[in-house]
Amino acid sequence: MKVGVKYCGGCNPRYDRGNFAQKLSNEFKGIIEFENAQETNQYEALLIISGCTSNCADYTSYDMGKAVIFATEEASFETVVKELKQMLNK
């Protein structure tokens, strides 16, 4: 499965967004390919990693696949993992 990763612009992030993406990548090593989202590419899901609950990233020009998944805080990790696992199991 290929997931596009789109970040907010990081004006005042409450957690390390890059580290969050790395942790996810490690969690799904060999199962999900995470790629910095490109407007020309297609994905099965789009993951938005926002630094805060404002969640202001503009992702309208990206392929959203079957789902758009949001992370807005460090604690979003478990929820994101769960949502991705559900997608894998479908």
Binding site: K6, Y7, G9, G10, C11, N12, N36, A37, C56, A57
Partner: protein, 489 residues
């Protein structure tokens, strides 16, 4: 090429034939000069972050002129969301550089010119809007850094441009030719001009009909014939020239700069002219530029404030005072002040509106409130940072003494704070606070906060104009059940 890399940006600067003077001498290689280079690195971050997936959502945007992805510093704002993201971008870059990254003036000048040229053409049948669109499309395609030059020397402040004993105290047209104009004058406080490929020049005040030669707006390359710069001094600037300078400069990688910029009979071709004699539009241009730039300060200064608050907290951690209630309270106060600045930057953006040309203008009242707060709060934030840092910030020995084989061990021993923190790290954080509060970066964080984008009184005039006092009186009358027909005639 709509987006340059930092390396391409630096190389493009090398190709310029800039005339920059410092300490009485022509600088042969501005790009590698140890005093200038940190300021170039700050501008470089505006290119570097645009390539970074974690920051591109703020740093890049789709151009309304070309439909291509461009750096937000070359963007003409198309929505309130664009205005908000501009402020967020500035905060982020302030955090990354702890300095002025210099590229805002060009962006703010462009947005002011885009709408003003449109309305000037509508009134006068001129072609400035087309000129400007063509010019700015070139800027978006090349991703150049553009300086925005507004402030004239102004001579006797009690006199207008034509009344000055020296008519060059405001930049003016001295010759009109079929193919363009020749201008003479100077622009003071030019932030980032040495790191810019282009400069946009605008009038500095609202003008009267007799000031026709002063109603001139245009763009030229920064290495145009007749244009030269005299680099501005900053407190502690020559520390950067010391061998191996690192700890003592406080911020080794980043900085900002200003320069006195002279236009000594500079030729401007017709297609680079955006206002030429339409005096009644000078005020509109100045007001719109100032409005955007007052909004900008609600982002960039906040980002530097974030670094200073962090530095003050670390200074307390490193000397063991971090648990003291008054230290905690001072850090809360600093944060409160900093976020208040940010709040007004965001607010004036959220309340923005479309101009006749289609780009978005900020809310003028809230932008002026934002900047008025910026003339005050960074001073209180620096006062609190110095309070927490302690006197050692300005009394500790030099880096050279610290590295001296004999003296170093004494400094290491007696300047130790918390045992688990190295003396060097303690010195580093104190020097960073010194840099922002009274060193080279204080130019940007303190005095520029006071006078940049207009001195405090300029905002108070705008607040008085925009404050809607008549409506407030009506509100009070209604609540107080006042019947004015009962007043004495």
């Amino acid at each position: 090429m709509s987006l340059m890399t930092k390396e391409q940006y630096v190389e493009s600067l090398r190709k310029l034939n800039l005339k920059v003077y410092m300490f009485g001498e022509l600088v042969e290689n501005p790009v590698d000069h140890p005093i200038i280079k940190p300021s170039m690195n700050s501008v470089g971050m505006t290119y570097e972050m645009a390539q970074h997936p974690e920051y591109e959502d703020l740093m890049t945007v789709t151009s309304n002129l070309t439909g291509k992805k461009v750096n937000r510093f070359t963007h003409l704002h198309q929505s309130t969301s664009d205005l908000i993201k501009k402020v967020k971008m500035q905060r982020m870059l302030g955090q990354k550089t702890a300095a002025c990254f210099q590229r805002c003036v060009g962006m703010d000048a462009a947005n002011a010119l885009y709408s003003t040229t449109f309305e000037t053409d509508k009134a006068h049948g001129t072609k400035y809007f087309e000129n400007f669109k063509k010019y700015w499309t070139m800027i978006q395609e090349t991703d150049f850094t553009v300086d925005g030059a507004m402030t004239d020397p102004k001579g006797d402040r009690g006199l207008g441009p034509v009344e000055q004993s020296d008519p060059d105290m405001f930049l003016r047209v001295v010759e009109r030719r079929p193919d363009g104009v020749v201008v003479r004058g100077a622009k003071v406080h030019q932030t980032g001009i040495v790191n810019s490929q282009e400069v946009i020049v605008m009038p500095t005040i609202a003008l009267r009909p007799e000031d026709k030669d002063y109603a001139i707006a245009f763009a030229v390359p920064t290495d145009a014939d007749g244009l030269f710069m005299i680099y501005g001094r900053q407190s502690c600037d020559t520390r950067k020239l010391e061998e191996g300078a690192d700890i003592d400069v406080g911020n080794k990688e980043f900085g900002g700069h200003e320069a006195l910029t002279i236009f000594d009979n500079v030729f401007v071709p017709n297609d680079r002219i955006f206002l030429n004699g339409e005096t009644e539009f000078a005020g509109m241009l100045v007001e719109r530029f100032a409005g955007y730039h007052r909004q900008s300060y609600g982002g960039c200064k906040v980002g530097v404030g974030d670094v200073l608050i962090g530095a003050a907290a670390l200074a307390a951690d490193y000397n063991g005072a971090h648990k003291a209630s008054h230290v905690k309270d001072k850090l809360i106060e600093m944060t409160h002040l900093n976020e208040t600045l940010y709040s007004s930057g965001i607010a004036c953006s959220a309340e923005g509106y479309p101009t006749e040309a289609g780009n978005y203008q900020i809310d003028l009242l809230l932008a002026n409130v934002c900047k008025q707060n910026v003339t005050r709060f960074p001073y209180e934030i620096t006062r609190l940072a110095e309070d927490i840092a302690g006197g050692l910030m300005v009394t500790m020995p030099s880096e050279k003494d610290f590295k001296d084989p004999v003296l170093g061990k004494y400094i290491n021993k007696y300047l130790q704070g918390v045992a688990t923190v190295s003396t060097e790290n303690r010195m580093r954080i104190l020097r960073l606070i010194e840099n922002i509060t009274l060193g080279t970066a204080a130019v940007g964080y303190r005095t520029e906060s006071m006078h940049g984008a207009g001195s405090p009184q300029a905002q108070r005039i705008m607040i008085a104009r925009q404050g809607n006092l008549a409506q407030k009186k009506e509100l009070a009358k209604k609540i107080a059940r006042i019947d004015e027909s009962q007043n004495k005639k």
